[in-house]
């Protein structure tokens, strides 16, 4: 080597140095405070500002919360209790209204002797969701199912459920918990039946209607099998056609005939008796369940290379996304009859669900389209090269991945939709937020109470929506870890 080595300090460490603790000022609470709260003048100012905000909130609202009254029969009684307990002029929250009108907030005007039905439906919802949502983790599923079983059964007993139904509920929940241990996928059968069961339990009426709907599925399946021999392409069309014909043409008559022969049914409950969180959750869950598949179809349509299909999808999506939901709800509730043959009349809740679904589906389609676009082209090619046809490739390869990528967007669409269920108040349904609170306030005993109902409803909405968003974060992390 030509160059001069200024110092060829060959150096070899004989003994390795042990790790030492950091210097004192580098650890502990003091350091934390210094770094996180007072690291500079701006930071100190922000800290003071933050403290100021907290102080403002606490000093203005704390006594109001602290002086809560939970049992009273009217606002005046409540005010009197506050005055007696905390002195004249004291402010206090009167959450007694929640306690007194609890049933109304939860069940709306649902007949009180039938409260067990919505409760059961809600409990079974978790059973139905278990294989879909909590399929990733056995312990979580166990926890959810166990809790569901216990809480549902206790509530059902408390609500005075008929024995037969109690047995049914116990059988389903406990059975599901057991099956979930061994063959969680079998629970999907229950998930598939759940919508029908739920609708029947909520609205009541003859069981024959439900059975006839099922028969339609059966016929469709039969048609599928028959047609599949001729041409797999036609089988889907045939199945849909047969089922449709049955449902539209024959199911109604068959159901009423059967009902006349062997009357089997439970007390019917009318849509206008729905209200409160029962209504929100019914609309929300139905909207969520329906908007996802519709959103997928729209997204696929929008990405298809068929010009007509694409432009129809674009027009639909842009139209729905371009107008406010309340105008759509208005159309659903008031104008729909203009577009239908004279004399048709169908359930207002169903109409609202359809509109909410369409609305959410348009947003969902855009979210899923993003997910589809993010998939590398190689995935499509590999599927093609293996000989999978378009639908199989979508179902087995593309959508599972695209949906996974889209989870955050999908869940925030769900959250948005659930929040939007409050807008049904503008079409005369009894949502918990406005209509129900107005109804509560309409009675002389609770006239003039604003904050407590709003806070109560807000807290419930917050818990549900926040829960959903946390769940999506959990799911995202979990999926990222598993399939990396």
């Amino acid at each position: 080597m030509s160059e001069i080595h200024a110092e060829t300090v060959a150096f070899v460490r004989e003994t390795m140095l042990p790790a030492e603790a950091p210097p004192a000022r580098e650890a502990g609470a003091v350091k934390w405070l210094r770094e996180n709260l007072f690291s500079g003048p701006v930071n100190t100012l922000l800290t003071l500002l933050g403290l100021g905000i907290i102080w403002f909130l606490v000093s203005h609202f704390w006594d109001w919360f602290a002086h809560s009254v939970w049992s009273a029969n009217s606002l005046s009684e409540c005010r009197q209790i506050i005055a007696e307990t905390w002195g004249e002029g004291a402010r206090g929250a009167c959450f007694a209204v929640i306690r007194e009108r609890w049933n109304q907030y939860v069940y709306g005007f649902y007949p009180s002797d039938l409260y067990w039905r919505p409760t059961l439906v809600f409990g079974l919802l978790f059973v139905a969701l278990a294989p879909v949502l909590f399929s990733e983790s056995r312990s979580l599923r166990r926890l959810i199912l166990g809790l569901t079983t216990a809480v549902t059964l206790i509530l059902l007993v408390a609500l005075g459920t008929p024995v037969l139904w109690l047995i049914f509920a116990a059988a389903v929940t406990i059975g599901a918990s057991v099956i979930a241990e061994r063959h969680p996928l079998y629970l999907l059968i229950f998930s598939a039946l759940y919508p029908l069961l739920g609708v029947w339990l909520l609205w009541g009426g003859s069981i024959w209607g439900v059975i006839m709907v099922l028969v339609g599925f059966g016929l469709g399946w039969g048609a599928w099998l028959v047609a599949a021999r001729v041409s797999p392409m036609l089988s889907a069309v045939a199945a849909a056609l047969v089922a449709m014909i049955w449902w539209i043409g024959f199911a109604g008559a068959a159901a009423s005939d059967a009902q006349n022969l062997i009357p089997l049914g439970i007390t019917p409950v009318d849509s206008d008796q729905f209200g409160g969180f029962l209504l929100s959750i019914t609309i929300g869950v139905a909207g969520i369940a329906l908007s996802l598949p519709l959103g997928i179809v729209l997204a696929l349509a929008r990405r298809s290379d068929m010009f007509l299909v694409t432009s129809l999808a674009v027009m639909f999506i842009e139209f729905i996304r371009g107008v406010p939901l309340i105008t759509l709800l208005f159309v659903a509730s008031l104008l729909l009859n203009y577009f239908l043959p004279p004399g048709t009349n169908f359930d207002i809740i169903l109409r609202v669900i359809i509109m909410v679904t369409l609305f959410a589906a348009a947003y969902m389609a855009e979210v899923i389209r993003g997910g589809l676009a993010a998939l590398p082209k190689g995935q499509y090619e590999a599927a093609d090269a293996l000989g999978l046809d378009y639908w199989k490739a979508q179902r087995l390869i593309i959508l599972p991945q695209a949906l996974k990528i889209s989870i955050p967007g999908i869940v925030s669409t769900f959250i948005g939709m659930f929040k939007d269920t409050t807008l049904v108040t503008f079409v005369g349904l009894y949502d918990p937020l406005k209509s129900m609170s107005d109804a509560v306030r309409a009675s002389t005993s609770w006239k003039g109470i604003y904050w407590e109902p709003y806070i109560f409803v807000g807290v419930i909405f917050f818990l549900i929506c926040f829960g959903m968003s946390r769940y999506s974060m959990y799911l995202e992390r979990r999926l990222a870890r598993d399939h990396r």
Partner: protein, 316 residues
Amino acid sequence: DTLADVKARGELNCGVNTGLVGFAAPDANGNWTGFDVDVCKAVAAAVLGDSSKVKYVPTTGQTRFTALSSGEVDVLARNSTWTFSRDTDLKLDFVGVNYYDGQGFMVPKELGVTSAKELDGATICIQTGTTTELNLADYFKANNLSYSPVNIDSNAEGEQQYMAGACDAYTTDASGLAATRAAFADPENHVILPEIISKEPLGPAVRHGDSNWGDIVRWTLNALIAAEEYGVTSKNIEELVKSSQNPEVQRLLGVTDDLGAMIGLDKEWAKRAILASGNYGEIFAANIGEQTPIGLARGLNAQWTQGGLLYAPPFR
């Protein structure tokens, strides 16, 4: 046609107020009661034979006519004023008047206002989409006064705004004012001003184009009014069926002629309508009469024989 639809459905869709105590309001269990509600019940009883087979569709001032003309409701019994343009241009048919009313103002007593003419510059709560909204504009213009409107959507909102002092005065039909005031914790602190600035004949309405259905509702209402005139009440009706010698009553109750067949109903339709919640007088007394907190006098709404305007055409 509507009659067949209603029969097939087994239920009458009746548009009512979202909540106006005495006229139509749900209680904590969702049962609707009120003066307008009883009209719905009478029609349901007449048509379907069961006064409970009614689906009440709460409508706001803004949505009510759309609900009716789109077929959402079969009959609108929602303290709606019979006006020319509504009857013609809006393609509704008002079938009669169940309450003769006029628009008034309510102000807090402490304001010290004694006449509507003193409301210059005031903020006034007004329900959108009502005749009262139009009357208000006309009245203030005619009297050369100014005001700023606070547009509200329902009576409940109006109450909230008015009670909080967000408007100086609340204006709507005088009956509505009375009902609203009656629901206050301190009715004595609010006064209804003497001026009645408009005529507000309130009555049930049906869609234009189905005159048979209109007839049914019209004559159901007339049956209630006539029943009071002839002293037929829900208490004595069974007796009168057997014993009444008045030929008009006999026709009304289906003892003699079959009037029902002429409108596509059976003989006893009127009897059932009256039995549903009583005759007009009973309904009035039970919901808004002087014995109720609302405490409205019969006034214009007395039978013609008593110096009022109620005058049912003859049943024959």
